[in-house]
Every structure is written in structure tokens, then in C-alpha cells.
Amino acid sequence: MSSAEIAVLPEREGFKIRWGDLAPFIALAVIVLLGTLINSNFMSANNILNVITRSAFIAIIGVGATFVVATGGLDLSIGSMLAFVVGIMILAMNALVPSLGAWAIPVGALVALVVGSLCGLMNGLIITVGRIEPFIVTLGTMGIFRAFITYMTDGGSLSIDRSLRTAYRPVYFGDLFGIPFPVLITLVIAFLGAFILYRTKYGRRVTAVGSNSDVARFSGVHVGRVRTMAFVIQGFCVAVAAICYVPRLGAATPTTGQLWELQVITAVVIGGTLLRGGKAHIWGTVAGALMLEVIANVMVLSDMVSEYLVAAVQGAIIIIAMLAHRFTSSR
């Protein structure tokens, strides 16, 4: 008798989960549809490509943030970290260009990856070894990174060497079979992220730690290491985003990446990852990043709201999207 019940429930359960998982994609589709209705220019190939390419930064960083959030953490320093990594990378490339020429670009990129990972490591170690709330630690390091980039740029801007610009430009503006490079890189990072999260031991442990860290500890999971590693992954992703970022404008300023952390966390959450940890949706995050960028784009294209109120409408749309999400997934 009880077998009947157990057999019946999971099917329903299964349906439920699938709806919930699809919610961000459905929401994205709805917003795209609305965009098309509101403005005929929205669907132009050019506009769509622009929007998708632009969303790469938030999506790439979001993949890392998904790891951090899945372990139950939070990283507020990502925007400033991006600026810092961009600054270091530009300094490195400019310093290397006399000796290495165009080879300064890959070497500089490598430097960025190392620096980004180290920044993440620092965040992770302070949090796990010092046992301090991630919110506070990353708020602190946010100030630190921001100050460093301001210092490095002298409050102004720090540009990449003129001779590297042309060689480097295609990393943002170029494409392969019509797919812009940043989009390709996003796909690679998201695939990698999904593989690590869903198919490796480490990924299992990430969700276990976020779900119940005591249980994970009793099961022999090195909770601190898993958490720290998530921050390292976050740092690495920030560095990848930095590598795509520099060829776009070729400079770092004290405002680079400002408030990106909020956008990234929003993308992660509207993508279906829970802030309390234990559940993670890499592809949802990517959809979330796209959603944010599309909303902003539609706002600009549609001439309906006063420029003062754009932020209000964006805020409202995000809340409404989450409400819709709640409805679809609780039904």
C-alpha cells in the first residue's frame, strides 16, 4: 500500500521540479516577447547580438557566483575585484609589451587568471579560517579592491598600450562562425561550471555544504576547503570576465565594475539558485544575466518612461519576474 504512494508522489515531484527549473527560461522568453511587441528594432540581429554579447560579463561572473551561493556564501567584492584584476592586467600587459610584443596579451591574461584566483583565495581564507560572515568580509575586500584600482588609475583612467589594442580588440568584438567570442567564452565557462557542479565530486560537496554543513562535515567533507575553493572559482571567473572586458574599452577606471555584484547576485537568484545555499542552477544564472540585460535594453528602446524612472521600472520588472516564477513553480 505505501508503495503505491511512494510511487505516485515522485512523478508529481518530478513535474514540479521541471517547471521550477524552466521558470527562468520561460521568464526570459516572456520578456523577449514583450520586447518584440514594444519595439520592432528589438529583434534586429544587431541588437540581439549586442545584448547577448554584453550579458557575457555578468553571466561569466555569475557562473562563479553560483558556486559561492550554492555553498551558502555571498561575494559582494566581485565588481571591485573585476576592476582590480583589469587594472593589474593592463599594467602587466603594458609592462610586457616592449619585450613580448603582442605576446603580452596571453601572458597578461594568464597574470589576470592568477591574480583573480588569488583574490578569491584571499576572500575564501578570511571567511573560512577567520569564520566571519561572507557579507562582511567581501564588503571589506570590496572597499580594498576599489581603493587599489583608484590608486592604480590615480583616480583617472588606465589605458592599455595603443599597440595592443588592435590585436586584442577581436576578443570582444570578433566572432567565430557568427558567434561573438564573449558568447563562446560564456558557453565554455557555463559548460565547465555545469560539469564541475553536477558531475564531479567537488560539485556534489558544494551542494552538500550549502544544504547542511554539519552533515557534510560528519561525512568527511572538508567544509572549509570546499567553501574556499568556491571563492577561488569565483575569482577565476572574474578574471575571465576581465579578459573579455579589456578589449571592449581598453581602460580601467575607478568606476569599472561598480555595482556589478548586485547585478550578478540578482542574476543568480532569478536564475533559480537559492541564497541559503544547497541548490544551484548554472544555466539559470546565464538566463538571469540575459534577462537583466534584455530588460535594460527594452527600457532604452521603448520610449515610454521618463529617464528618471528607468531604475524604478527595472526594479519592478525584476520583482514581477520573481513573483511569476513563484507562481509557475508552486503550481
Partner: protein, 517 residues
């Protein structure tokens, strides 16, 4: 009190698998376990019994590395050992199945079982193999769950089976089961007893804690008794019967377990529920209770008893055609309306839904009856203090200090605190889900007397229980639920264990084979 230990340490030829010498544990100023000297041999089932708070779980945590002793030593096969954490103990072959559920709710069954020791092929985890092996152990423990179920979505009993399955995944030298059967019904218990026996046959030492003395009697080779954190002694199981065990535990003669039945009442029902429908009608039914009546609700795990009552209380989505309580009709299931009208519910999930584990006794005790204990807006600290005192006295909550947190109480004492909490609201109808889960035998009779007193005082009690003797011993009337429907109503002489089991499990052929021997 006249039995001398018949099997104190020693007497075995080969060195014991595990031996403790003067093992002690203190939490801050409070010593909860002192000077335990114990020997566990290969191929034996060694039962540990004792009252609530006697220190059984604490001892098991020490043996399995979940806590570190503050005094004494341990040795395995004659060699001294000390475990810094549970992982070291598991590496040494000792595994503990906790009294409380300790699983990651967001992971699947298989992921939980293999957490920390995932199998992999190359970089990727080998889900296929892990799921297959999980399915095997699940079948062994008689669980109907699938490896890919999310643990948090499963009933508590199924989660308990998953915990047991986890312990059996690898070969072990010592398997410790801390009240494994508290949440299980007969079928699962039978399956579990079978597993324990086969472990014993394989030479594994099994430490078994249970308040169900009939299980101890049926299973154990030796029995160790703890009382107030001290070891009373170890006996050969043949030397003791259930009554003697109980008396060793409590240190005094025990009175009758069940109070005598009351006269049947004929007054109008105080609670009448018509066509309650929970979970989109998967669970539905009507019932009523009269003042002075104890209504038992029986059924197998997953039958939907808990969900039905949670629905009635408005704690999960539900509709009802009509509910009347104390003569007033309640518009729709809503926890506050119910409580205001005098109906309280004691949850079966004391850790997740019953107690604030990080809070002290006061906040827990008064949470539900805040308005009653504190008539004004302000907290009445004095009155709260008095409530704590009287609850501790009345419900015999064994605490060594009143400033303890609920999470630090022993399992049984948590249950008593929970009981005290819902009773503080002075209800006229009480629904108790698994009233004696994890309660020792001495206190059981006390809780039974308590329920009886309530009924005699003209209150109505609904008791959901998976312990058949309890239903039989307490109830004036028993409803049996199966697959979300009431399938039988038993009264008077018809209330027998056989009838309840028959009603709960009949229909369907598959259950025939699984009926207990």
C-alpha cells in the same frame, strides 16, 4: 534491584573489538557521562538501555568520534585509539546512525549515501554505479525509496531508513544504531532486525539503543544499563526479562504501564471534521472526537496521518466542508484559529518543527502560549520562570541546569519539553503525533497517565501512533488510515493489534509477503 551483573567486562577469549576505560564526558560544568568501562565483542548485539538523558547517545557519540571524551581511554583490538572526528572513526570501521536525522535535505538518497566518498570515473562522478549500489542497500533495509529521490521530500521514517542504509554501505566492524526504530513501523522494524542479525552473523559488533524493550529482548546478546550518566552494569540478555530491564533502568519498581480504560462517553463531539481534503484530495476524511475520549489513529508510515492533521491545523494547504470545534464552526483550516478555539497539535518532528534548538527552556516552553503566560504586551519573566519550574517538575524533564539550550537536551527530554510546551496553552483538544517517540519506559507510563488524566478531565485527545500497544492500551476508539483514507473504525473489544495491522495493510497482494512473521 537484586540482580548482580552477570556479565561484567572480561570473560571473552579474543581481544574485544572496542573497549572503553573510565570514559567520561562533560559539557562545560555539566558531567553527563562518567567512568564508563565497556567491552564490545565481535559478532554480538550489545544493547544499551537507560532512561532519557541517561547518557546513551552521548556514549555513542564518543565511540564514533562525533564528540571527544573529557576523560578515559578507548582501545580497538587492544590498541589504544582516539578519534578526532567521525571520519577517523569511520575509517577505523565504526559507524553511528544518529537518533536524529542527519542528512543533507537538498541531495538525493544516493548522493547522501556516498557523500564524502563519491565514486568516480575519471573526473566525473559515477552516478550509475552509486545509484545501483544505493538501490541494493535500500532494498536490504526494506526501503521503497529510489536512489534519485530528494531526501528533504521524503517522510521522516524513510529518511531514517536512508541513514541506516548509509551505515551499511561499506563493511564495518562496529555499527551503532541509536534508536533506529523510533520512527519505523512493524514492517520496517522487522526488516531492520533481520539486518542486525545478519550483521551479527558476519562478525560485526552491533551496539543497539532502543526504548522498545521487546526488541532488546528479542535481539540482544548482552545488555548494558546506564543511569544518570553512570554505568550500572552489563548483563547477559538471557538473564533479564523486559520488566527487569526496566527496573534496572529506572532504579525502582515500575507501576502499570497503561492506566485502566475510562468509561465510554456519549457526549456531543467537541471536534467534528467533515470532508477534510489535503494535498489535492490525496488525503481526505472525516472524523470527530468527544470530550473525555482518546481517539487513536493508526496506519503505516506514509499513510498520511501526519499530513492530514497538519492539513487540519492549516499548516499545509487543505480544505474542509465543515469543521466545528467547541461548538463553534471554524471557517477554514488555520493554525491560529484552531489554537484560539482550543485545539493544539504536537508535531512528530520535534527538531525541525517543534523546538528552537538554539534557545533556552523559557522561550521554547512559552512560545505557543505567549499570550497566556504574558497577558500584557510585556514579557512576564517571573511567570515564565514559574512555568519552567512547574514544567520541569510535572513532565520530569531531566536537566542538570535550567540554563540549558533545547538542542542540548537528550532526545527524550526534548520530547517532554515539547509536550509541556503544547500543554501550556491549556487546550481542550490535543492532537499528539507519536507521543512517546524516543521516550523511555518509565516516562512512557507517565505520559500515558497524563493523556488519561486529560481525558478524565473532559478534554479530548487524538493520538497518532505507530506503536500498536500504545494505541491499544490508550484508545477508546481507533481509526485506521490507509493511502490517505480512513479504512476502519475499531471500538471496545475490537481494538487489537491484529485488527489494526490488518486494516492498515490489507488490500493489495504485495503487502501479504511483507507482513511480519
Amino acid at each position: 534491584m537484586t540482580f548482580a551483573p552477570t556479565d561484567a567486562a572480561g570473560g571473552a577469549q579474543e581481544p574485544p573489538v572496542l573497549r572503553t576505560e573510565d570514559l567520561s564526558k562533560a559539557y562545560g560544568p555539566i558531567t553527563v557521562l562518567s567512568d564508563v568501562t565497556l567491552e564490545i565483542r565481535a559478532g554480538e548485539v550489545h544493547a544499551i538501555i537507560g532512561e532519557n538523558g541517561a547518557g546513551k547517545s552521548t556514549l555513542m557519540k564518543l565511540l564514533s568520534g562525533h564528540a571527544t571524551p573529557t576523560g578515559g581511554t578507548m582501545s580497538m583490538f587492544g590498541k589504544p585509539v582516539a578519534f578526532a572526528d567521525a571520519v577517523q572513526a569511520e575509517d577505523a570501521g565504526i559507524v553511528l546512525v544518529h537518533q536524529e536525522i542527519l542528512l543533507a535535505p537538498d541531495l538525493t538518497v544516493a548522493q547522501n549515501l556516498f557523500l564524502g566518498r563519491e565514486l568516480s570515473r575519471g573526473f566525473a562522478v559515477d552516478d550509475r554505479t552509486m545509484n545501483r549500489r544505493t538501490a541494493e542497500v535500500l532494498a536490504r533495509v526494506g526501503s521503497l525509496a529510489r536512489p534519485t529521490f530528494r531526501v528533504g521530500d521524503m517522510p521522516l521514517a524513510q529518511q531514517q531508513l536512508v541513514q541506516i542504509a548509509r551505515a551499511l554501505l561499506d563493511d564495518r566492524k562496529v555499527v551503532i544504531l541509536d534508536e533506529p526504530t523510533a520512527m519505523l513501523t512493524n514492517d520496517e522494524v522487522d526488516a531492520l532486525l533481520g539486518i542486525v542479525r545478519s550483521l551479527r552473523a558476519q562478525g560485526v559488533a552491533v551496539l543497539y539503543i532502543s526504548h522498545r524493550l521487546e526488541e532488546v529482548e528479542a535481539l540482544a546478546d548482552r545488555v548494558t544499563v546506564l543511569r544518570d550518566g553512570k554505568m550500572i552494569g552489563t548483563w547477559s540478555a538471557q538473564a533479564l526479562d523486559q520488566r527487569q530491564m526496566a527496573e534496572l533502568m529506572v532504579g525502582r519498581e515500575l507501576s502499570m504501564l497503561y492506566p485502566p480504560k475510562r468509561e465510554a462517553t456519549t457526549s456531543e463531539p467537541v471536534l467534528r471534521v467533515e470532508d477534510l481534503s489535503v494535498e489535492h484530495g490525496r488525503i481526505s476524511g472525516s472524523f470527530s472526537v468527544r470530550p473525555g475520549e482518546v481517539l487513536g489513529i493508526g496506519g503505516m508510515i506514509g499513510a498520511g496521518r501526519t499530513e492530514m492533521i497538519e492539513g487540519l491545523m492549516g499548516l499545509r494547504p487543505a480544505q474542509a466542508r465543515a469543521i466545528s470545534l467547541n461548538g463553534k464552526s471554524v471557517a477554514k483550516p488555520d493554525v491560529n484559529a484552531m489554537m484560539a478555539a482550543g485545539l493544539v497539535y504536537l508535531t512528530e518532528d520535534r527538531k525541525g518543527k517543534g523546538l528552537l534548538l538554539n534557545e533556552g527552556l523559557g522561550p521554547n516552553l512559552t512560545l505557543q502560549a505567549l499570550d497566556l503566560v504574558n497577558p500584557g504586551l510585556r514579557l512576564d519573566r517571573k511567570r515564565e520562570g514559574r512555568s519552567i519550574q512547574s514544567a520541569v517538575r510535572e513532565y520530569d524533564i531531566r536537566v542538570r541546569t535550567l540554563s540549558i539550550q533545547a538542542g542540548q537536551l537528550s532526545g527524550g527530554n526534548q520530547q517532554k519539553l515539547l509536550l509541556a510546551k503544547v500543554m501550556l496553552a491549556e487546550p481542550s483538544v490535543v492532537i499528539i503525533d507519536e507521543p512517546t517517540r524516543g521516550i523511555d519506559i518509565g516516562n512512557k507510563s507517565q505520559i500515558y497517565r497524563f493523556i488519561d488524566d486529560l481525558a478524565r478531565a473532559g478534554k479530548a485527545c487524538v493520538v497518532i501512533s505507530s506503536e500498536l500497544p500504545e494505541l491499544v492500551g490508550l484508545s477508546d476508539r481507533v481509526l485506521v488510515m490507509r493511502s490517505g483514507r480512513f479504512v476502519a473504525e475499531l471500538t471496545g473489544e475490537d481494538i487489537t493489534e491484529q485488527n489494526i495491522v490488518y486494516a492498515a495493510a490489507s488490500s493489495g497482494d504485495d503487502t501479504e509477503g511483507r507482513k511480519h512473521a
